[in-house]
Symmetry: C2
Subunit: 594 residues, 2 copies
Amino acid sequence: MPSYQAPVRDMKFLLTDVLEIERYSNLEGFADAPPDVLDAVLEGSATFCEEVLAPLNAVGDRVGCVRHADGSVTTPPGFKEAYQQFVEAGWPTVGGDVNFGGQGLPHIVTLALNEMVSSANMAWGMYPGLSHGAYSAILAHGTDEQKATYLPKMVSGEWTGTMNLTEPHCGTDLGLLRTKAVPNGDGTYSITGQKIFISAGEHDMAENIVHLVIARIEGAPMGTKGISLFVVPKFLVNADGSLGERNPVACGNLEEKMGIHGNATCVMNYDGAKGWLVGTEGKGLNAMFVMMNEARLGVALQGLSQSEVAYQNAAAYAKDRIQGRSLSGVKNPEGAADPIIVHPDVRRMLLETRAFNEGARAFLFWTALYGDLLHKSPDAATREKADDYMGLMTPVLKGYLTDKGFSNAVQAQQVFGGHGYVEEWGMSQFVRDARIAMIYEGANGVQALDLVGRKLAANGGRGVRTFMAEIDAFLADNAGDANLEPFCIGLKTARDQLEQGTMWLMSNGLSNFDNAGAASTDYMHLFGLTAFALMWAMMAKAAYARVGGGDPFYDNKIKVGRFFVDRMLPETAAHLAKMQAGADTMMAMPADAF
Amino acid sequence: MPSYQAPVRDMKFLLTDVLEIERYSNLEGFADAPPDVLDAVLEGSATFCEEVLAPLNAVGDRVGCVRHADGSVTTPPGFKEAYQQFVEAGWPTVGGDVNFGGQGLPHIVTLALNEMVSSANMAWGMYPGLSHGAYSAILAHGTDEQKATYLPKMVSGEWTGTMNLTEPHCGTDLGLLRTKAVPNGDGTYSITGQKIFISAGEHDMAENIVHLVIARIEGAPMGTKGISLFVVPKFLVNADGSLGERNPVACGNLEEKMGIHGNATCVMNYDGAKGWLVGTEGKGLNAMFVMMNEARLGVALQGLSQSEVAYQNAAAYAKDRIQGRSLSGVKNPEGAADPIIVHPDVRRMLLETRAFNEGARAFLFWTALYGDLLHKSPDAATREKADDYMGLMTPVLKGYLTDKGFSNAVQAQQVFGGHGYVEEWGMSQFVRDARIAMIYEGANGVQALDLVGRKLAANGGRGVRTFMAEIDAFLADNAGDANLEPFCIGLKTARDQLEQGTMWLMSNGLSNFDNAGAASTDYMHLFGLTAFALMWAMMAKAAYARVGGGDPFYDNKIKVGRFFVDRMLPETAAHLAKMQAGADTMMAMPADAF
């Protein structure tokens, strides 16, 4: 049975040593998160995730969710009780708005908690995870009345939320959607249609479920401009806040999936359900993107989360499993064989995974800090930079972290040999669960296209120029530091290749959009690797400043970082070469020849 | 529900146009496979695989195998009947020795059939597949009496066979095994011990199962030198060939696995079962490697097989699924959207998979031809080259083809978006089934180590030098061919990088074995890519010689090949760079810091 220990030490290293968040104690919320509070929050959450959620992960996979004839859904044994504990302990309130019962701590703190939840039990974590997206959409676009009706219960966790976008014939291309909203004449709408792949669409963990649904108001134009967003509660809410009658929205089926069996993935049937417009008519996609961008970062976090827990279990197995002898001489002479961690190729699999995990965590935390600065910084230039970065980094994080998160889970499973393939050992579940993150909230190919087709060009390419300038400033600041030299050389090479890739896109992607599409996934990975190179240089700098005090943490951090630079970063050149090959060989063959 | 069409056209192209097997019609068996016979065999097998085996693939996954209280095992509905048809049609006899009822056709023909079987239903294909390894071991090392007892029924398929190597505490390191063989005084042995992960160890498809088991004869030394091989039938065989009493060997449990649910993966308990020594006492590993090498090529084929069937279904989906519009202008103006195959990134996923499939098939067929030449060529130099190649290419094929076969199945699943994650669509099964091929018959890290630590150095590196010389000869022969120029440039670059990698291993791997281990997986992939570059150059040459007759097959072949050279081959440089980084950063961290 796999286990999980939350990487609290690594999180604190990022928050205090690398990102130095105490610099921002003048900002709203940050003042409420001094080191001692931070410690208490991280450690309390770690205990809950390790002791309550992680032990439920395997049963969630094995038993899954069950839909009953009346459309109700039972979650796996223990899920409901764990959620109750979670709510009672106040965990959902940590990052919530203080006006609606939240503690208002920085988003970066919530991110740390979410990573732990997702590593411990990804399927369970999606119930509160999706609530947060729905909460954010109402917070950003809802009326005061809608906020007062829904937000306090969503912040407390008593109610959960969902996002209802996909329909059987349309996923990526939401302009095709058919769900319709007919005005009832009293300001409400009657929503009818079918939505699919609705995570946490129906369950038994909360007393109400707040569905956010995109639909087309009767008579609205086809395409994305005809789309509006609605809030459609499972139970209507009375004026006094109590629950009223059941809205005609029901789970018609549960999907049988490769993984995340503990999460109810529902077909949702809206049969004249009562809904309220959120935001402006016809601007549903804008409002939806508030949820979507948040959800994308949450999914990026899932990529990291499965890679992290898979690594931990693989490392433990590699230290324990006795098989064969070291190539460089016996290491365990008393035993019949050496532990397999003596083998370089086993270490390669572990280190690729670990170097990813630590780099990904840094990249996520660094981005989340900009998310906080975007809303809270008093400085307009900082807010502009933060806005640019959030736009630019979101598809990179979602695409790169989930591609690698999955392949790392596979790699960690490989360390177990045949036992990795047997369900009992739990590694298969990490792989099967991690797989979905590459697909939902916009498949990774869509992320790559969003990056090259939209985010890169926004504001004349200001975001990527700012990012280059930030790298250049780091390189200039640390030019004389012999310790950091290998990190800086790697970062410089990657940065130059990213620049060449960007220039190639500008020269070739605008004249032939297929060139941009053909280059998109390689560019996304090139971007991810370059961002990791900056993260590792920053972490190495922070670690070198503290190394030598007898604590091996900093020394190990530097060693893992050197592995990243030597053995993972060289992939940038291949991505650039592939991009530069252009679209011609990709588009040459007629469609019917496939 | 996924479908499968056997790539008969592509197989014929390889056999007749690329490898020109009619050149070998002077050799035993080849004369029996003229074009019309070959066509009949390939097309007959294709029909069986498409119509009988493929429709059973999903049910095999869903229902799986069931073990009953008495240790008997029921295979999924339809499996037994399909096997009966398979035997009645004589398919198992195609490559079998003519002295034991086989048709004696070249191994390369069997390979083609096996690919079809494995694409149609990988789990089902393992029942006859493992029989063949057991058959080969008895054929190579058995006594005349053993051959007469077992081989006719194994060739006909009436009996199946298994390989029993792994024990709970030892997989890769067989020197640790504990199963013991006690002489009964009458030339037979009494075998006692537990074996795990025994594919097809017990089932209801054949009347007898012939287990080949490695064990330690009482008093034999520890380590690999004390290992002997035994044949242990499920039912003892009477002198007249009829079945006698049940041997005390039984299935104690079935593993619950990530995939290949249709194959019974058994814990086998030997409780004083009667066995007969196969080959020489203490030379069990040698005899076992006959099975093992054959099994490794069979597993390489599984990597291709899942990538092939996953590609076919993804290509069909991409041409059918309407979503979004082409970046370069509407392609389907009558429809609400364009089929997703208009998107470069969707084509990238499909073409990477297809270019792999066609390259892998060529590489396997090319190697299988050497397998035939090894046994049948009258020319000593040809036999030596064939022997070198079989040794050298087996780990590359097993490791590279299964790593890529799995990642391609994942990529094909990705084309389906959310539907790829839902079991009903069948893409998840291809991914889950393909995953095992990276693990069993020697995990891919073990293949990589076998390549750099043993196969590369054999006979002073003669094999890799011969391979380089073969590439050089191709380049020299085609130096003036403008059509082939891009293929030759790609091949030359890859060849030079493989040479640099080989030189680096010689200079650094012998002085520090950890350098060899640290480089091994990257070297294996570099080798695989280079071999593919040769295969694509050979295929392009054969296609250019035939292009222009109105048949788009050859033109498409060249286009897929150009995609390989432009967009996949550039990965060689990254593998070389990673190798050259050496083992230091990999070995620096103490084991307890993982």
